[in-house]
Symmetry: C2
Subunit: 270 residues, 2 copies
């Protein structure tokens, strides 16, 4: 995947001087040469979201910003929409309901075009629901009350980033238990809890952390004991010996090796 | 420490049929032979808390329940209060503000008597603030927004349970980041995040989990990298390779070996 993914944990700042995440997106999409497409399909107020993001992207120096309104599946299969994606150097998915994205865009010609443009080097960004949908399996909902077999609902995502399960608004909504519930049941997936106003920038198999909060990585691959039975609906889950990493801005993580890269190692490399 | 500690994550159920935690307390204190003392010093409404706990403990079959009103330090140094503790088979601290407990009870004759009775086999229980104060270092407050050097405030606790840092209402208030902030700075302490209506029953160096939620154990003792600088106030913390365990009811954990004990191992042992 030559293109980059920018996966934002929701509530990223749009304020001048505190907009490092969105600034990075505009920069990586080409700055004054960028042609950005904003897709607010997940939102209940798409016109408002499109306007907000167009304003901030213009302020950050983006060359062109095109809102692409996809409300029905026929929109996502239209030649007009496909050609907008084909011209884009960066596509941004707003927050809202991730099932809106999969049901309106999933499997459409726009979906195919997004994957093709990503392979060609485009940057794909999303916040909140627009970020959750990027993994092969996405979290649809759940409970923070306990770690149990019915504390989390998952479904297939848009498959831009395989091998991970992403949870958004992680610290602010206290979502450790629901991410742990998912990772305990599916320990082949790596759990990424992304705080608000925080993002990961994925380039190949390495991501870098951006923004104000931290990214919590849960790796149950080497866990010694996981006790979860789907025949016991709502039953408790025990999980012993998962690895936990907390990464603030500037730190990187290798998704293939499942290992953090010290900031100093990176600094020496450059 | 021959006595037992019951450390409750707050909001334990008082409802008949869902009161396993408080029922265990009454049972371990002697049931119909129990002489329970309720200390609501942490609360802003001590009379109401005393009444609520007296009702539920009586319903659960406790022989005697005595509210012990400690409002000022002179109350905690009175002979009357000391003799109430000396007769108690179980003492229960309600929730509220943990600084009320340390400032009113800490270092008093009641404090000394509590430690003495615990050594003689009494059970000491506490919920929320009444649980947070049990460790040698307690969490006083903090922020859930990020893992940083000023995301958590700690202070000396009442030292009934050394070697751990306890956080309460863990899942419900999303306190992972503040517990991680503390453990990253003080990795010799074991982090225990106790969900609401959930408790640990500590007997020697082993605790057992009770209740509806889970206990999240954060062990940074073997972490590969911790990057925290107190000279950088509010600076981000990186933490790589902490161990994480999630334990539902029935599971046990050895605090000395820092290892979970499988439910089956326990079941075979009994």
């Amino acid at each position: 995947m030559p293109g980059k993914l920018l996966v934002i944990g929701g509530a990223e700042s749009h304020d001048a001087g505190d907009d490092a995440i969105l600034e990075r997106f505009v920069l990586l999409a080409g700055g004054s040469e960028a042609h950005l497409v904003v897709i607010a399909t997940a939102s209940e107020s798409p016109a408002q979201r499109e306007k907000e993001y167009a304003e901030v992207f213009h302020r950050l120096g983006a060359g062109r910003v095109t809102p692409l309104r996809l409300e029905e599946r026929e929109d996502s299969n239209s030649d007009l929409a496909v050609s907008a994606i084909e011209r884009a150097t960066g596509v941004f998915f707003t927050g809202g309901d991730q099932l809106r994205i999969t049901t309106v865009v999933g499997g459409s010609k726009v979906d195919t075009a997004l994957h093709a443009r990503l392979a060609e080097g485009m940057i794909l960004a999303g916040t909140s629901a627009g970020a959750a949908m990027m993994s092969s399996t996405m979290i649809l909902g759940g409970s923070i009350a306990s770690v149990s077999t019915d504390s989390v609902r998952t479904g297939p995502g848009m498959e831009f980033l395989p091998g991970v399960l992403i949870d958004m608004h992680f610290a602010q909504r206290g979502r450790l238990n629901r991410l742990l519930s998912a990772i305990a049941m599916f320990p082949h997936e790596l759990g990424l809890g992304i705080d608000e106003n925080t993002a990961i920038l994925v380039d190949g198999d390495v991501f870098e952390v951006l923004g104000a909060g931290t990214v919590t990585v849960i790796d149950a691959g080497q866990a010694r004991t996981i006790s979860a039975s789907l025949s016991d609906v709502g039953g408790p889950i025990a999980l012993c010996g998962a690895q936990l990493h907390v990464l603030p801005a500037g730190w990187r993580f290798n998704l293939t090796e499942r290992a953090a890269i010290k900031r100093s190692e990176r600094d020496h490399a450059h």
